[in-house]
Each structure stands twice: as C-alpha cells, then as structure tokens.
C-alpha cells in the first residue's frame, strides 16, 4: 500500500502536517514542531525510497484517483524529479531541525502558524517537482509562493514591504506562467506534460506555442530569480527571519529551476527550443551576466544575509548558464549545482542563523576573532561552506564548476568559461573578507578577550545540522561521481 502510493506520499504527508498542526497545536503550541519534523522526516524517507525505486524500476507514474492521463492528473517520478525531491526534502529537514531554536527566539508567539506555513511551502515544492500536469504545477507554484510571502513577512520591521514586493512580482510570474499554460492548452488541447511532449515537437512553427514557451519561462524565471528578474530576492532573504531565509534560499529558487528544466527539455524538447526561440542562448547569457553581477554586488554588502542573497543570484546564474548551454555537461553541471548550492547555501544561512542567535546580528564588519574562539564549530562549517562556494576541491562547489566548464568548452563559449572562473575569484573576495574577520584579531583597537561570557557555541539542535551540511559538502564532493553517473547522467534529456 505504502509502496504503490509512494510517489504521492511525500507531498501528502507534508500537507497532512499543514492541516493537523493548526488543529492539534491550537492549544498545545509545543506540538507544532514535532509534527512538522515528523512529516519532514517522513517525506525525506519516502524520497529516498522513491529515488531507489526509480533507479531500479524506471519511471513511475502515479494517477490520482485512478484516472488515466491525459484526463487525470498524474505524478511522474523520473530520476530528475526523484533526485530534486530528495534534495529539497533532505535539506529542508536539516534546516527545520535548526529552525526550532531560532523560531523560538525570533517568533516566540507565532511558532504554530509558522510551522503550518512551512509545511504548506514544502507541500508546494514537492507538488511542483512531482506533478506531470501543467495546471497542477501552477497551483502548487502559487501554494508555495503564498507560504513564502507569509514566511518572509514575519521577519523584522521591513519584511512586510519585502514580502509585498515579492508578492507582486511572484503574482506576475505566476500569471505569466498561467497565460503560457492557456496558450499550450489552446494549441495542443492537453495539460499533461507527457502528452504535450508528444505533440509539441511537431508544432514549432506555431506562434502560439512559441509564445507559450516564452511566457512560461519568463514566469518561472521570476520565481527562480534569474538575473533581470531577481529584484525581489535580496530584500526578501535579508529581512525574513533566519529560519525563513535558511529554508527559502537553498530550495526556493531551485524549484523554479527545476520547473524550467522540466518545461524546456522534457516538455517542449531540445529540438523545439532550437527551432523556435534563441531561448537557451538568452538563458546562458543572462546566467553569465548574473554570475558576475551577483558576485560583484555581494562584495559590496555589509550584512551577511544580504551578501548571501546576492551570492544566490550569482549561483542561480550558474544554473541558468548550465541550462542555457543545452549540452549534457551543462545539464549535469546545472542539476549537480542545484544540489550543491542547496547544501552550500543552507550551510551558510544556518551559520548566519547561529550568529544571529548568539551575537544578535550577522553584520560582517562587527564580527571579530572572538566568534571563532567561542563558536569554533560554526566557524569551521562556515569555512567549509565558503571554500565550497569559491570552488576549492574536493568540496562539492568545485565539481559543479568543473562540469559547467566542460559544458562551456564543448560549446566553444570562452566568454562563459571566463565568467565562471572570474566569479570564483569574486566569491573568494567576499568570503575571505569574512574569514579574515573571524579568524584574526582586529587590526586597530583592542577588543577585550573576555567580558561577553554569553557568547558561546550554538546549541546542539542548531549546531548538528550545520555540521552535517558542512561534512556533506566534503563527502558529496569526493563522491560526486557516484551521484553523477548513478543519477544525473540518467537525467540528461533526450535529444542531446
């Protein structure tokens, strides 16, 4: 029973938690967190089962209500969706463990609705990844976006404004996507992705379908925060509570990335895209610009969360570049970077959360060597995360860059290669700036070594997820070939 329904169980368990939390934890608020944690852990477990099943059995289709597509809605478990769900759920689980203390500290009287909304967001993410239906994807997109607006709005004084701007942008994105879906439906008469994938390649002369592709990619591009559409991201990540930014930054934009990969390569197909629009070229150029632009702006930031936000813009650029290269190495690099960036950003945002809890701020100029003395493990995790962002082997960050570099060379795009490499240096600039601060005594002015005895290592529930992520960065880097050959090479879409 569990096995036959396993594709749907991850989003369903999360949705169940989202429903049960307001009912059960209405009076007993402390129950909210355990329920959320259980649901998230269950979803992660199911994702593992799903991945194993997909790798051994091939693609699994799950028909809701027993209705056969294209009439019914189906969930499709293929290597790509199984892999991305696992990444999303596993990272969220770790961040959720970490979030308990920071939510208790930052949102003491709103923890119950907060966890419910988090569960709703994760439901949305899982749904987006798993669904095989265009309209269903829209619904989940909006469910997750609504949850995101709420999660951002409970931050500091400025957060509602950030959330409002995100809401306007996000709604425009969602509406563009929906309009695209309308065009697709009008042209093909179907909403099922597999069904459209059969029809679309023959229709690349149809302007309506080409418009649909463009609209969908722009719409999803806003949600993914790809370069000129990234305006909402920095404020949203900065002003949101630590727990929210740590949950949203690693996985939020990735879901948009996933949807774009799905739409471009699996539904419309490489041939369609090549014949109709210079879409992949545009994506690649925007990605390359984003890489440089995001990195440069990250250098200028004082607040660590804002720095990480701009670095996210750059990192999403990597993924966009990989997609835009539209060759196997590019896709491998992009999909691997989805995982890598999720891990790196989660690790770094958790560190920022630890700083916020223990120091009360995460402003870079105010950090000093006491941080390293009192919080050695957190600092160690930050170092690993930073090295991975710079792309030092054997951390994961190096390997996605390696595949992306191979992709650029295969297409003979030397400028993109240069952008990739230059951004590594820029990353080094802004991360070593922080590392210098935390590892060395301030040059001018003597900071008393003791005094602030309250400063200590973060509590175990926050430290362990941070360290797990740090170790994962190293181990997955060393064993990335297992993932690449076992999973990601099977993702490379047909027609490449």
């Amino acid at each position: 029973m569990i096995l036959s329904n396993s594709p749907a169980l991850a989003p369903l368990s999360l949705l169940l938690a989202a429903i049960v939390i307001p009912m059960v934890a209405f009076r007993r608020r402390w129950l909210a967190f355990p329920i959320a944690l259980c649901a998230s852990a269950f979803a992660t477990g199911i994702s593992v089962v799903n991945l194993v099943r997909v790798l051994s059995e091939g693609v699994i289709h799950y028909h809701f209500g027993g209705w056969i597509p294209p009439i019914g809605i189906e969930y499709v478990l293929d290597p790509l969706s199984a892999f991305v769900t696992l990444v999303v759920n596993a990272v969220s689980l770790l961040v959720l463990v970490h979030a308990h203390r920071s939510v208790a500290a930052e949102l003491p009287d709103r923890s119950m609705p907060y966890y419910a909304v988090v569960m709703l967001m994760l439901t949305g993410f899982n749904g987006i990844i798993l669904t095989g239906d265009f309209f269903n994807l829209y619904v989940f997109l909006e469910i997750s976006s609504l949850a995101l607006y709420g999660m951002i709005a409970v931050g500091n004084k400025k957060s509602p404004v950030a959330a409002f701007r995100y809401l306007i942008m996000g709604t425009v994105g969602g509406s563009f996507y929906l309009l695209g879906v309308g065009f697709v439906y009008m042209t093909t008469g179907s909403l099922n992705m597999a069904d459209i994938a059969k029809i679309a390649p023959t229709l690349y002369h149809q302007p309506a379908l080409v418009a649909a592709l463009g609209l969908m990619v722009v719409g999803l591009g806003i949600k993914m925060a790809i370069f000129p559409l990234h305006g909402w991201l920095p404020d949203a990540y900065t002003y949101a509570p630590s727990a929210s930014s740590a949950l949203i930054a690693p996985v939020g934009a990735k879901v948009g990335v996933y949807a774009i990969i799905r739409v471009i390569f699996y539904v419309f197909g490489v041939d369609f895209v090549r014949h109709s629009l210079p879409l992949t070229d545009i994506l690649a150029w925007l990605g390359a610009i984003a890489i440089v632009y995001g990195s440069v702006l990250a250098i200028a930031q004082k607040e660590m969360k804002r720095m990480l936000a701009y670095s996210s813009v750059a990192q999403i650029g990597y993924i966009g570049l990989g997609i835009g290269l539209a060759n196997p190495y590019g896709i491998i690099g992009a999909v691997l970077h989805v995982m890598n960036h999720a891990l790196m950003k989660a690790c770094l945002f958790l560190v920022a959360g630890n700083f916020r809890l223990k120091l009360g701020h995460s402003t870079i100029p105010r950090l000093d060597h006491r941080v390293r003395k009192r919080m050695p493990w957190t600092t160690a995790a930050f170092t690993v995360g930073a090295l991975s962002m710079v792309g030092v082997p054997p951390t994961v960050g190096f390997f996605s860059k390696w595949y992306l570099a191979l992709g650029t060379i295969q297409n003979g795009r030397w400028l993109f290669l240069a952008a990739l490499l230059v951004s590594s240096l820029l990353n080094a600039v802004y991360f070593f700036r922080v590392l210098e601060k935390v590892y060395m005594k301030p040059l001018e002015g003597d900071v008393p070594d003791d005094g602030d005895t309250a400063l200590a290592e973060a509590p175990g529930s926050m430290l362990i997820p941070t360290l797990v992520l740090g170790i994962a960065l190293l181990l997955l880097g060393l064993f990335n070939a297992v993932i690449v050959t076992g999973i990601i090479t099977r993702i490379v879409p047909p027609g490449m």
Binding site: F135, Y138, V139, E142, S145, L146, Y149, G150, A153, K157, K158, P160, V161, A163, F164, L167, I168, T171, V172, G174, S175, L178, L179, G182, Y185, M186
Partner: protein, 128 residues
C-alpha cells in the same frame, strides 16, 4: 486583417485589461492601487481562459439526457472553467495575504506610498 481583429475581439479585450493591470502594478505608487492592478491582471487571464472555452452555439456543459445526444460540439468546454475556479481561489488567497501585508505596512509606517516607504526604510537602514 479586420477579420483577425474582430474575430478575436474577446482576446483583444483581455490584452487591454492585462495592459491596464500591468500599468497599475508598475506605475502606481500606492500599494492598494498596485493590488488593484494585480487583480485586474489576474482577472484578465481568467477571462482569457474562459474565452478560449467558448464555442458558438453550444450550451452549458451539463448533460441533458432529454436532448438525447452527448455530442461534444453542443457543449462548451468545461475544463477551462474548472481550472479558472482554482485560479480564482488562488487569486483570492493571494489578495488576502496581500491585504494583510498592506495593513501591516500601514500600521508600521503610516503610509502606503511606495516612494515614502522606501525613504522610511532607508532611514531605518541608516539608523541600524
């Protein structure tokens, strides 16, 4: 050419609405006006779907056994309508959240004018 314009008049209205919505969202400074623009934008897309479902000479998609036949050309395509039902719900939910945000923003800054809001925020940044 004229046929093209007249034949698709519903869609032209949709696009005009969409343009109005986008204009409201981007140009207006007042947050509530932005929201109104957003709603117009969403509604235009809903209308687009509904218009696409239309067939001349067809009726509501309720099976009429007395008519004797279930000829699909006799019924309007029900699918876009059901889809739009969901889209409306999504729109309402978004609007609810947005209004809640607007109220919070007003409570905190006593203004809904975007330029003034940004000034306030910059002041906050400086004071931090």
């Amino acid at each position: 050419m004229l046929d093209f314009f007249i034949g698709h008049y519903a869609y032209w209205f949709v696009f005009i609405l969409m343009a109005i919505g986008l204009y409201g969202m981007t140009v207006k400074c007042n947050l509530v006006k932005k929201l109104i623009g957003m709603t117009i934008f969403q509604v235009s897309i809903i209308l687009f779907f509904v218009a696409s479902a239309n067939k001349w000479g067809a009726t509501v998609p309720v099976l009429d056994h007395s008519a004797g036949s279930i000829d699909p050309t006799k019924y309007i395509n029900p699918l876009p309508h059901t889809l739009m039902l969901t889209a409306i719900v999504v729109g309402v939910a978004t609007l609810g959240v947005a209004l809640a945000l607007v109220i919070t923003i007003y409570n905190r800054y006593q203004t809904l004018d975007e330029t003034r809001l940004l000034e306030h925020m910059r002041k906050d940044d400086d004071s931090e």
